[in-house]
């Protein structure tokens, strides 16, 4: 972990935490499998999420492969805060708010690129890739005013760290380590991001779109809702493979929900089920050849997850699909809108034609023009929008599937539930949400989940 701040004084004075909305406990009755619709609609709840979730949690910001060389950068978001993630000369990675400390203008308008410096268009303040203020137009006027350049760098994020090529950042100096934050979910992350010795990379750039829905509808869908696929995605499955979605509810003994710290993964052990929906036989062959090697490195169970029917959300707003190889962040834009950023990930050592098939496969299935995603957006938009009704939003919603499915006697890390048709992960996601929303600082966030993995493994 590195503190991007270095020795620079921080000119950003964080205001004390705002008083919490009262009676947050009443929003969720998870034991009864009920929850309030206010969490998807209320503007005050959204504002509190910005402070207590997005300005506090570790958020995915980039993949290492996107910024291999010194000066390489991507512009992304942490909540609604625009940040630049920049590779340094020593190979480390720093993150800064993309805003000039002089009059507040954005200093970088490109989505990505390589920079020697970031220069503000307004008054020509120029910042090095380390965030330090190097100079400005008519610099003698500032000298005459006695301004100290060293006090006016770009504001750094609190911490940057990475796991298996995935770079995360947090805006909270008091956040736990990334290893603690991800906890036992790292065990499962390895099944996808460490299935091959070379690790993974992002290819083909970023596809961005806007959906008029609350961010949690998207996150909770990927955290555990395979149930929707058999119904929502029937048309997409028929388009890609000529038949309906696999009926995974009939074989719960082969599948699981696992969660830790609000992150969740629902998965089958069918090796290639997700991948099959891309309709490319060569990809299935690639995974079947790889599977025994993964079994040697990571064991039998994880080798069967590499492209299986499954989905994962890393709390709060980053998700991916093994096998379909789409990786995505649902950036919040008010309670009723998200900006969706999606990438394609592949094993770095995969043959080029295999990588190209996955790049095209994510486009055909999970992109705004994709035959699966096409039907998701509308569901989430109207799940959100119907809550405009004053009386409508006083009706509770149901999330009670799989109440008695906890597997107690298991060596598997995390909280384990039998059967991927389940809402255990969704309930854990909202429990974590509530814990963070109620806590005044990281110190008072309850540690509900007991890690089986060692710190820093």
């Amino acid at each position: 972990m590195c503190n991007a701040n270095g020795d620079q004084p921080i000119r950003l004075k964080r205001r004390p935490i705002a008083q919490s909305i009262e009676n947050l406990d009443q929003l969720l009755s998870l034991e009864q499998g009920r929850m309030s619709r206010d969490v998807f609609w209320d503007k005050d709840i959204y504002e509190q999420e910005m402070e207590r979730i997005f300005a506090r949690c570790w958020l995915f910001v980039a993949h290492e492969s996107q910024i291999p060389k010194a000066g390489d950068y991507v512009s992304t978001y942490m909540g609604e805060d625009n940040v630049l993630i920049v590779r340094q000369k020593d190979g480390s990675i720093k993150g800064f708010l993309n805003t000039c400390p002089h009059r507040g203008n954005k200093v970088c308008f490109a989505d990505l690129g390589n920079a020697r410096q970031f220069v503000c268009n307004y008054h020509g303040w120029a910042f090095g890739i380390d965030g330090g203020l190097k100079g400005m137009h008519a610099s003698e006027t500032y000298e005459a005013a006695g301004m100290d350049k060293s006090e006016h760098g770009l504001h750094p994020v609190a911490h940057v760290d990475s796991y298996r090529g995935l770079i995360f950042a947090t805006l909270d100096p008091d956040a736990p380590s990334l290893a603690d934050y991800l906890g036992d979910m790292r065990y499962y992350l390895d099944a996808v991001f460490d299935m091959d010795e070379g690790g993974t990379e992002f290819i083909g750039g970023c596809v961005k779109s806007v959906i008029q829905c609350n961010w949690k509808y998207a996150s909770e869908n990927f955290v555990g809702d395979i149930l929707h696929a058999g119904w929502t995605h029937d048309s997409g499955a028929k388009a890609m493979v000529g038949g309906p979605v696999a009926e995974v509810h009939k074989t719960p003994e082969q599948s699981y929900h696992v969660n830790f710290n609000g992150h969740g993964w629902e998965f089958n052990q069918d090796i290639v089920g997700n991948c099959a929906t891309l309709g490319e036989k060569e990809l299935l062959k690639y995974l079947y050849v790889l599977q025994p090697k993964v079994a040697e490195r990571l064991g039998e169970l994880r080798s069967k997850m590499i492209g299986a029917i499954s989905s994962c959300t890393l709390f709060p707003n980053t998700s991916f699909l093994p096998g379909q190889n789409t990786f995505r962040t649902w950036h919040p834009r008010g309670p009723g809108q998200i900006e969706l950023h999606t990438w394609t990930f592949v094993n770095k050592k995969a043959p080029q034609e295999i990588k190209d098939m996955w790049r095209k496969g994510t486009m055909m299935t999970f992109s705004p023009s994709g035959v699966f995603e096409m039907d998701d957006g509308e569901n989430w938009e109207y799940s959100t929008r119907s809550n405009a009704g004053f009386v409508t939003r006083q009706q509770d919603l149901y999330l009670g599937l799989g109440h008695d499915t906890r597997v107690e006697d298991t060596d598997l890390p995390g909280n384990v539930y039998q059967g991927q048709i389940n809402e255990a992960n969704q309930r854990a996601f909202y429990q974590r949400w509530l814990d963070l929303m109620k806590a005044d600082s990281w110190k008072t966030v309850p540690q509900r989940d007991v890690p089986k993995m060692k710190e820093g493994v």
Binding site: D111, K208, S209, D234, A239, M363
Partner: protein, 178 residues
């Protein structure tokens, strides 16, 4: 936009120009009326139907705004287009029921001789407006560069490049062709 045509721009005769315009106007009507199979029949066997996504990069960045190996909303051959049409035709294509209302407006049509005999390079601009249920309205504006190939009395579409103005697609999906 960094679209470049390396071929010299040799205009065609007025009758060819008129026939190409009719082809594009009819194509737009087929899409407006969800006549998906009739639309697919306009494609050549080797169609490359490409709609890259736009990246905001500095002008000095030689990687350009878009590229064939980067993000795309369409990067399709005939098999891919056929799969998309298959979804549109399913009774379980929930986001198409009730039907989306489409208007494909095509304008600014320029026709030049292509690189092969019987091929034509066709530039056009488009406005696409989609409306769904009560008030979901999505607007896309852009420019296309096509290669049309003479086929009997008509044409087939052999290449299409679609460049839209948006870098963040301001819509939940793209449930049409452009």
């Amino acid at each position: 936009m960094n679209a470049k045509t390396t071929l010299p721009e040799i205009p065609v005769d007025a009758e060819t120009q008129r026939r190409v315009e009719q082809f594009l106007f009819r194509e737009a009507r087929l899409l407006d009326n969800e006549r998906w199979d009739d639309w697919l029949a306009l494609m050549a066997e080797d169609i490359h139907y490409w709609m890259p996504t736009m990246e905001n990069r500095r002008r000095a960045d030689k990687n350009g705004t878009y590229a064939i190996d980067r993000g795309a909303l369409y990067n399709d051959n005939l098999r891919d287009l056929t799969r998309r049409v298959t979804r549109f035709k399913q009774p379980t294509a929930w986001a198409e029921d009730p039907a989306t209302r489409h208007a494909h407006v095509v304008s600014g049509i320029e026709v030049y001789q292509g690189g092969q005999a019987g091929e034509f390079i066709v530039h056009s601009t488009f406005v696409n407006y989609r409306s769904r249920v009560e008030k979901d309205n999505d607007l896309l504006v852009g420019r296309r560069e096509d290669v049309l190939r003479a086929d009997g009395d008509g044409f087939r579409l052999a290449r299409r490049k679609i460049i839209i103005t948006q870098s963040v697609l301001m819509a939940k999906n793209l449930n049409t062709f452009l």
